[in-house]
Amino acid sequence: MNIINYLENNSKKYPEKNAIIFENEKISYKQLYNRVQNFSITISELNKEVISLISENSISFIISYLGIIKSGHIVHIVPPEISETNLDNQIKSANSELIICSENVFNNISKYSKIKTQILKFSEIKSPSKIDKISLKENPIAHLIFTSGTTSIPKGVGISHTMLEFTTKNIVNVLGHTSSDIDILPLPLYHSFGLGCVYTSITVGSTIILHKDASNLQNLLNSIKKFKATTFAAIPATLTKFIKFENSDLKNNFSNIRLIITNSTSIPKNTIQTFREILVNGNLATYYGLTEASRSTFMIFQEDSSRDNSVGRPAPGVSIKIDDNSNNEILIKGKNVISKYWKNENADKNIIDEWLRTGDTGFLDNENYLFLKVRKDDIINIGGEKVIPMEVEEIVKQIPEVIDVAAFGIENEIFGQVIKLHVIKSKESNLDKSKILIHCIKNLEKFKIPNKIEFVEKIPKTSYGKVKRFMLK
């Protein structure tokens, strides 16, 4: 079964139930299915194999995504803020013949001279003149995402319906999703975390309260309260911002929440502890996965805090092993793992006998809990001593005037590499470099002390909050 089958079933089971609420719009399961059906018929007439979808969060995004799939085409999902060059490269690699986008995105990309592909706004996709029963082809691939993640070269990743169904079932079973859930979703839908949440809600027949983004915390709190939400998906940075609110207010707002799901970007201990206290009737959970191997582990934070640094145990049907001969690289195998990249033989070398080499390093403890360390490429080698940048970052973050920090290796004639820090300090702070260094000297081994410090305004990060270190080196 693919997501369309689940949608069709739920349109019969819960025809009048809200499938999605977004700002002032709402759409029931029956309406959603009908609009997806109509969209797919219109699209099928266009006879294109890969269709690019570029939009901010909206109901139209979800209808278009599902409509393209239902028509048997592959959805090439593109972040709305993509540059002209990257879009051009992706369109060529995906061999996409049509772009469907929001009005906002249209206003930007229609100015891109390199883009010769036909572009249609959502409003230009008209309902078919007559709704005939047409036989729509099936495509094993649901969508295509180009992921640069925390490495430098974007790779196309084609995600099959089989992978998506396997992963969604795991999410539902491990995290206990049901049709009674009301799901607050402020994550970008053009990433697998956000899109996976849509799959989960449609599969079980719950209601999605979709937000444009997570920038307005008060708005999210109001929404949680107003809709009596039961689940909330957010990246760790959003959760960390919440802890500045009064605990009692948060407890009150989150009283109905049974689950907060976040992703594997390192979650500050204080954030975990705060949400452990706030969620009187629920749990905080995280997962580890890549676009190529979605939701490979699950971690539900329990009373015992001894494994708060872990991303959990392998998901059902997923195997994880550590390659001792490759800096403790994490390897993953399972039905959630791609069999090959999109037209990229070089990248295919990362998949050997169905094991995906993730490029991340870590270890498994005696109860098979996975602990992440760092991407292999990000390990800093100082005269033979290996340093994990996050360890230095954690120490620097202890300084109250530090808002954010990124550590990375730079070339050095004597040591091969030394550590450089990019630090964002709070406005009007008098923090100087020597204070940071002295704090590091007090709290770190001597080979882990940064050699260069630069105060910056911004640190480049992925949408999930992972530092893009390759952009800093």
Partner: protein, 82 residues
């Protein structure tokens, strides 16, 4: 911070920051790198890094590697500040 006394005062603070277990009697301006318990290449790097940050100066590779005592560090800093 230009007087010799002020510079020396800062250098001493830096030495005690980098060599955290060193007591007052173990420090002297003439004492050589080889006579310090933990003055290895990483400690050298940290001394230089902290001095560069504190005095807002930048040592060349030769300068950074040739400093073998607190006195030599003082002379080197002075040459950058004058």
């Amino acid at each position: 911070m230009n007087t010799n006394i002020e510079i020396k005062d800062e250098i001493k603070k830096i030495f005690f920051a980098v060599f955290q277990n060193m007591n007052e009697q173990e420090f002297s301006w003439e004492k050589q790198q080889k006579d310090f318990k933990n003055w290895d290449s990483f400690a050298q790097l940290n001394l230089i890094t902290l001095v560069e940050a504190k005095f807002d100066i930048s040592f060349s590779l030769d300068e950074a590697t040739e400093i073998k005592s607190a006195n030599e560090l003082f002379e080197c800093i002075k040459s950058h500040l004058t």
